[in-house]
Symmetry: C2
């Protein structure tokens, strides 16, 4: 745990039993999770924690992730380029508005 | 998504593949997740979102959960009574200090 540090939660659509079946998982969110983690250092974001989650309930706008404690929700994060754009924004202390869910 | 609303993340120890194998899951966190969701209304916390997560990396102090955007981490949440104590505190706008991870 890292009080006050950013924590990125990536929807992987797990059911309670752990079975990954939902929209975000089918769109490859588990692969993107690995890619995201691999890119943190390059973006100076080593202190950011990353976790997978069960369904975040924004399926129609997924693949989705949320950054806390800022409370910034992102959708349509489907490719490595999408992940790059979000991490680029975080590195600048900004929000990737083009992916933001409001 | 509920901007600004509380979001409880409950560690269910999912691996990236979705297989639940870690400490929190073995301690019954998936059952507690269902219990927690069932108790929200009674605590006036209907607007709180609840999600399961993969390993939150505080295994030695689990079963664990974290409440965002407040950024309050809890550990040792092993029984329904533990969940009740945390929800009671949230209902009062307080923190259940006896479970808090710092």
């Amino acid at each position: 745990m890292e009080n006050g540090k950013s924590h990125i939660l990536v929807c992987c659509s797990f059911r309670t039993t752990g079975v990954p079946q939902g929209f975000c998982h089918k769109k490859g969110s588990a692969d993107l999770l690995g890619y995201l983690e691999s890119q943190l250092t390059d973006h100076g974001l080593d202190d950011v924690q990353v976790s997978s989650t069960g369904c975040l309930k924004v399926c129609e706008r997924g693949p989705a992730m949320v950054v806390y404690p800022e409370g910034i929700w992102y959708g349509g994060v489907a490719t490595e380029e999408d992940v790059d754009a979000i991490l680029d924004a975080m590195e600048r202390g900004e929000i990737a508005e083009e992916y933001r869910l409001t």
